[in-house]
């Protein structure tokens, strides 16, 4: 479908790990408690089979925070996603709410949007640094639904490629796994390659 060289792949992983590292330190500051975050792997998926991949065929509800990013060569819709029960866990760990309401309240949704905003901005910020280009963005919005519903809000270009970051979050004794999906068109990916190569050259010196 689409290939990066191993080196390009590693470079991209590293960039995102730097990004979520920034996000983790920002969140740790807010919480006054250490939060760790890493991207153990990234992968590319076809738009079409993304939905089934994300929820292992189960029709469970997913909670997502979405931002649209726009730059000269990097245009993407990005969404941070957690299974609904995990997002409840994250927010309640962070704000210390003890009451087990079934859904995030209005204020908790705001908090979730902010967490998403911090993580997405950090990932894209590092990418913008690498590309040496400005990337503009919309404000984050909160979405909830099954994976089909969430992804259909992106429009339906079936040939789009989705870059998936697998994100591990560690807070207190909890380990939470989430995903960030960047919906990219082919030309964006082609444009990304030479910049990755340049980044690699600079890194190696």
């Amino acid at each position: 479908m689409f290939d990066l060289t191993e080196l390009q792949y590693d470079a991209l992983s590293e960039i995102f790990n730097i990004g979520v590292g920034h996000a983790a330190s920002a969140l740790s500051d807010i919480l006054n408690e250490e939060m760790r975050m890493s991207v153990p792997r990234i992968s590319f998926q076809n738009r079409a089979n993304l939905a089934s991949k994300l929820c292992n065929g189960e029709n469970r509800r997913i909670c997502g925070v979405r931002q649209s990013f726009e730059g000269a060569i990097f245009n993407t819709d990005a969404m941070l996603m957690f299974p609904e029960e995990k997002s409840l866990e994250i927010v309640r760990l962070m704000v210390g709410g003890s009451l087990s309401m079934q859904e995030l309240t209005e204020m908790e949704q705001e908090a979730m949007s902010e967490i998403g905003n911090i993580i997405l901005n950090a990932c894209v910020g590092v990418l913008a640094d690498m590309l040496k280009q400005d990337i503009q963005s919309s404000l984050p919005s909160y979405h909830i639904g099954n994976s089909d519903e969430l992804l259909s809000s992106y429009g339906d270009h079936a040939d789009d490629i989705v870059l998936i970051l697998h994100i591990d979050i560690a807070l207190e004794k909890h380990e939470i796994e989430g995903h960030v999906a960047f919906i990219l068109d082919m030309s964006t990916i082609q444009d990304l390659r030479p910049h990755l190569d340049q980044y690699i050259t600079e890194m190696i010196g």
């Binding site: 920002a26 807010i30 009451l99 204020m107 705001e110 908090a111 902010e114 400005d134 963005s137 404000l139």
Partner: protein, 329 residues
């Protein structure tokens, strides 16, 4: 309309917006401070202009806000600061009175990059008062807590209900199993209660249930002990970390306490007041493994024995001989 007039109009409109609007230049100096900000910060635009936020608010507690401003100016990425994760970063107050008491307004903040030309970067801070939403949610939470505790209370007697017993009993049982500690159950039934109801009426029956429930509750004092209404005139007592001897001791006190209430009841056994029968069973993890339901059955069986040996007495289920020993009083 001339461009100049339009810009003038926009400036005035922004001034009048019923939310906080602040514009910062690329050095983070304030270049615009609208009426709403003046009203709620008690700082005039004149005093705010050309200063940075930390300069006008030395106790600005939010690293997050300053990071968001930097990110908007340097990377042109927008940020939101939710009230939940950021407790009132800006020194804003609903009224003079609250300012006097240093009670800050609950704030939701958006930090947006504004670019007027490729070289000029500004940042707009938008502040909304979310106190009403915060209050609404805290009321909602309170109600949920209340509902939840109500869901576990027996409406008539005010002690725990069957549902609470099911949860707490099961939990205590698992705890005993895990930690290898003993646990006891007491099942209690009011003697000849149907006759009592028929003789004195349902209202008096309700009164009798409340009195007995209160007497039983008075006899348990440890935080994890639980007296619950099991059904009609049946009660159950959960005693974690209690062996048979301890449970018998409590059962004796309960029996005596109910008898001493002296609630008049002309019934076909010796005593002319309301009495109870009690069945006691102990779970001992060092003996044969049983389920929680089996434990309830044993207590139930012991209670049955107590009823059939003349009532107003306690029977302990004895596991070793697989027979009950009766200690009639």
């Amino acid at each position: 309309m001339l461009t100049e007039d339009r810009n003038n109009l926009f400036g005035h409109a922004l001034k009048a917006v019923n939310a906080g609007v602040v514009l910062l230049d690329e050095n983070q100096k304030i270049v615009f401070w609208n009426n709403w900000m003046e009203r709620h910060s008690f700082i005039s635009e004149e005093d705010a202009l050309d200063k940075t936020l930390p300069e006008i608010s030395p106790d600005l507690q939010s690293v997050r806000l300053l990071t968001a401003i930097r990110q908007a100016l340097a990377n042109r990425l927008p940020s939101i600061l939710s009230q939940t994760l950021n407790k009132s970063p800006l020194p804003l107050f609903a009224s003079q009175e609250e300012a006097g008491k240093s009670i800050r307004m609950q704030q939701a903040i958006q930090v947006l990059p504004i670019q007027t030309s490729p070289e000029s970067h500004y940042c707009m801070i938008q502040v909304t008062d979310v106190s009403a939403a915060v209050n609404r949610e805290s009321i909602l939470r309170q109600q949920a807590v209340e509902l939840r505790s109500k869901a576990h209370v027996d409406g008539l007697t005010g002690i725990a209900n069957r549902r609470r017993f099911d949860e707490h009993g099961e939990e205590s049982f698992r705890h005993a199993k895990r930690n290898g500690t003993t646990m006891s159950l007491i099942l209690i039934d009011i003697d000849f209660f149907k006759l009592y109801n028929d003789t004195y009426g349902h209202q008096q029956g309700d009164y009798c249930l409340i009195e007995v429930a209160t007497a039983l509750s008075d006899e348990v004092r440890r935080p994890f002990d639980l007296v619950a209404r099991y059904g009609g005139e049946e009660f159950v007592v959960v005693l974690p970390e209690t062996d048979a001897e301890g449970a018998m001791h409590i059962a004796c006190r309960m029996r005596a306490h109910v008898e001493s209430l002296g609630i008049q009841h002309a019934k076909p056994n010796k005593v002319n007041t309301v009495t109870i029968s009690l069945g006691v069973a102990m779970f001992d993890p060092s003996k044969r493994a049983i389920s929680f339901n089996e434990l309830i059955n044993r207590a139930d069986h012991a209670l049955y024995k107590a009823k059939h040996s003349g009532r107003n007495q306690i029977v302990l289920h004895e596991e070793s001989e697989n027979e009950e020993s009766s200690s009639a009083i």
